[in-house]
């Protein structure tokens, strides 16, 4: 590995007298209480990483049980009621406890200040508070699950959730509400930090795309989450006081709920995928050794996705009974949002073109992300087409579609990011070979799990059923087999990354010879990130082709 001082440095260290070495952020204070009261964004990121990993595997256990049940056409493993509770638990945990916080709260927390050359986020105490809110929300959700579970699905559709379900809906709603506050605070912190704490010379169009992506995500978090929060409160009110807001029998209107819910939840899918795009935009140029193609377009596309994302919620309601004209408008707008997404895919591809590509583990994950995201996105166009959606709605086609985007896309990128910045976070290198094997296993397992689901959906298998006609069994068995491979793939990084913590080689400050500011400081970084405040003098992604 080469040294930190490399030709691609975008930093002018100025006339620093001599480097005054601070100890790493991991060094001071080993006790639990030091960690639980820390205000260092890097330690908070680690706290998030640990808790989020726990919830990921918990959600995974529910997924495993679902797939096991579906291996046979009869509902013989669990009762129908338990099945409903399983997929609800799986959905709630994966969406609110894993996908939404994963990249912003773990990678974003660690990297945003480093990437903008700041010593911390603008409000460190608030940052810690948002981790506590996350834990509190997680605890409430867990309690709801342990106390008997919830059977509404993660979408809490009314009037079932508000009037008929006799499970722990209010507890689950409260948990999600608290989690929402956690994300609002994180978003607020990022927005203010990017506006106020950028290093000298770091203009908006010199920001790494990861920063752009998290900034746009934060805007969505801050503006959309409150709407969800109040909607959930209304559901709880209807349930507790038996008054009609959403229940037609009481004079309410269920469409009102769907409007409000999807006004949040469609932008929420961009909360999950924009940060993932940010990660890919860091890894791909680094391992192709070329500047990002069309940097400005990439930044504009991120903003466009965030803005248009607020206008397309009605594509979840094509079959809900909303007016036909509304359906047509939403269909059209949904096609529009595909344009900036396509720009991003084209620009990644163009960045790769004629690059001197190095297929290291992070790069494999990033390429996996691009491929799976593309498939998921293209099948999204099927669903955005009004006429087709009427056939495909609520079938396994939808299940496959959102898993390609959210699991194939976001989780793949999250893992890519973990691998890319692992040396920075921990100061250790892991085995690249094992990393590559895991990436390939995950990719293979993923496609075997979810591709058959497109076929199932196309053939008419509805989602959320725990038994099905025998003719669907072959595809379901393939899918379940894939899930086993996928599970193995997800477990592998736990092993070799943990191993690297103790036995891995020491990482240099910049093992990948990347250009971001975060690579200009030690690995792991000192407590206040930079010994001297950096000054940026170059454009972003100033990569040059690899020497001989």
């Amino acid at each position: 590995m080469t040294s930190a001082q490399n030709d691609a440095s975008i930093v002018d260290e100025g006339t620093a007298p001599h480097e005054r070495r601070e100890p790493s952020y991991l060094a001071g204070g080993y006790r639990l209480i030091d960690w639980l009261t820390t205000r260092d964004h890097k330690r908070i990121a680690v706290l998030y990483a640990i808790s989020i990993t726990f919830f990921f595997f918990l959600g995974g256990v529910a997924a495993a049980l679902i797939r096991l049940e579906l291996a046979t056409p009869q509902g013989d493993l669990v009762s129908d009621d338990t099945y409903n509770k399983l997929f609800t638990a799986h959905g709630i945990i994966m969406v609110w406890l894993f996908l939404i916080p994963s990249i912003p709260a773990v990678l974003g927390n660690f990297l945003m200040p480093l990437m903008i050359g700041a010593r911390d986020l603008a409000f460190p105490r608030l940052n810690l508070a948002s981790w506590y809110l996350y834990m509190a929300g997680g605890a409430i959700v867990l309690w709801a699950l342990l106390a008997g579970g919830v059977d509404t699905g993660w979408t809490f559709y009314t009037p079932f959730s508000s009037m008929f379900s006799n499970s722990h809906v209010v507890a689950a709603l409260s948990g999600v509400l608290v989690l929402g506050f956690s994300s609002i605070l994180t978003g607020l912190n990022f927005i203010v930090s990017v506006h106020t704490l950028r290093a000298r010379g770091l203009s908006w169009f010199r920001l790494p795309l990861f920063v752009w992506a998290n900034y746009a995500t934060s805007l969505i978090l801050v503006l959309a989450t409150p709407v969800l929060a109040m909607t959930l409160v209304l559901v709880a009110i209807e349930r507790l006081f038996q008054v009609g807001i959403f229940d037609p029998a009481l004079g309410g209107d269920p469409l009102l709920f769907q409007h409000l819910f999807w006004f949040y939840s469609h932008p929420a899918v961009y909360i999950m995928v924009l940060p993932a795009m940010g990660v890919a935009s860091e890894i791909i140029p680094c391992f192709a050794r070329r500047p990002v193609f069309g940097y400005r377009f990439m930044a504009y596309a991120i903003l466009a996705i965030a803005v248009i994302g607020f206008l397309v919620w009605g594509h979840h309601m094509f079959v809900s009974g909303q007016s036909m004209y509304a359906g047509m408008v939403f269909s059209l707008l949904s096609f529009l949002v595909a344009i900036p997404s396509a720009i991003k895919v084209f620009n990644w591809t163009a960045t790769l073109y004629k690059g001197s590509i190095r297929f290291s583990a992070p790069m494999l994950y990033a390429l996996g992300f691009v491929g799976l995201f593309t498939i998921g996105g293209l099948t999204g166009l099927f669903l955005a087409s009004l006429a087709l959606d009427v056939h495909l709605s609520d079938t396994y086609f939808v299940v496959a579609h959102f898993h390609y985007i959210m699991v194939g896309g976001s989780v793949m990128a999250y893992l890519g990011g973990i691998h890319f910045w692992w040396p920075k976070v921990t100061g250790r290198m892991y085995s690249d070979t094992w990393g590559k094997i895991a990436a390939l296993v995950i990719f293979a397992g993923f496609n075997l799990t979810f591709f058959p689901q497109y076929l199932l959906g196309y053939a008419g298998m509805p989602r959320r059923y725990h038994s099905y006609p025998g003719e669907f069994q072959l595809l379901h068995v393939l899918s379940s087999a894939g899930a086993v491979i996928l599970a193995v793939g997800y477990l592998m990084p736990l092993g070799y990354l943990a191993w690297s913590l103790r036995y891995g080689a020491r990482a240099t400050p910049n093992p990948w010879r990347a250009t971001g500011l975060e690579w200009q400081t030690d690995s792991p970084p000192p407590e206040h990130n930079f010994a001297i405040a950096p000054v940026v003098v170059r454009e972003p992604y100033a990569y040059t082709p690899e020497g001989p």
Binding site: A122, L188, A224, M230, V233, F241, V243, G244, G251
Partner: protein, 218 residues
């Protein structure tokens, strides 16, 4: 002399002050959207059941609502003066004005509580006991009930915000006695002021929607 502590992540006081007030603005933008579903619900109701909305709004107590609007506007005025005093580093005067602001906030809450009590007695609280005096056909009753649901949700959310505002005033009154670094800087009063004005502005929207709609028609 009154310079607050500079947190390590900031390079200057100017930067720190800017970050804090900018943070407050972002926070308020987010806060505003908490009222979004209620306003959307109101719009929805108004479009689908205009008659019931009008009837329902005539059940609210316009006199008390108007008095409360005046009380709240006065409190905002006091708050603005408090911010001004703090800016001039007159922390004693700022403390007194904060006390006045908080007191007016409490008066608002008391009147609001009295109104709720009245409405409760008239069986206007949504739920099994709901029956408005003047409507009998189920569709209209449903509309009125939904109106009152939104009414109670919105005014309660507003009252919750006001309670937080009052607590912030009281807290500032207690800590302004200590000079920095133990006490807060003067800009803290202005941040509290921003929040207070926001709560005020929300009421300025709720008041016509809940009390004045369709009143003119008689």
């Amino acid at each position: 002399m009154s310079a607050p502590v500079l947190e390590p992540q900031f390079a200057s006081h100017a930067q720190q002050d800017f970050a804090r007030s900018f943070g407050m603005w972002v926070f308020l933008a987010s806060e505003l959207l908490f009222f979004g579903p209620l306003l959307f619900g109101y719009l929805y109701l108004r479009m689908h059941a205009p008659h019931a909305t009008g009837m329902a709004s005539r059940h609210t107590d316009m006199l008390l609502g108007t008095v409360n609007t005046a009380v709240l506007l006065t409190s905002s005025f006091c708050m603005a003066l408090a911010g001004h005093a703090a800016q001039g580093n007159d922390r004693r005067r700022a403390t007194r004005l904060l006390a006045l602001t908080a007191a007016l906030g409490v008066v608002f809450l008391a009147i609001k509580g009295f109104e709720w009590h009245q409405e409760f007695d008239e069986h206007l609280f949504p739920g099994v006991g709901f029956h408005p005096a003047d409507a009998t056909d189920p569709a209209t009753v449903h509309g009125i009930e939904l109106f009152f649901l939104l009414y109670f949700a919105a005014t309660a959310l507003h009252a919750l915000h006001l309670t937080i505002g009052v607590s912030a005033c009281v807290w500032l009154m207690l800590v302004l006695r200590h000079p920095p670094p133990r006490g807060p800087g003067n800009e803290a009063v202005e941040l509290a002021g921003l929040y207070w004005h926001f709560v005020d502005v929300v009421w300025i929207f709720l008041y016509p929607l809940l009390y004045l709609t369709a009143r003119s028609g008689g």
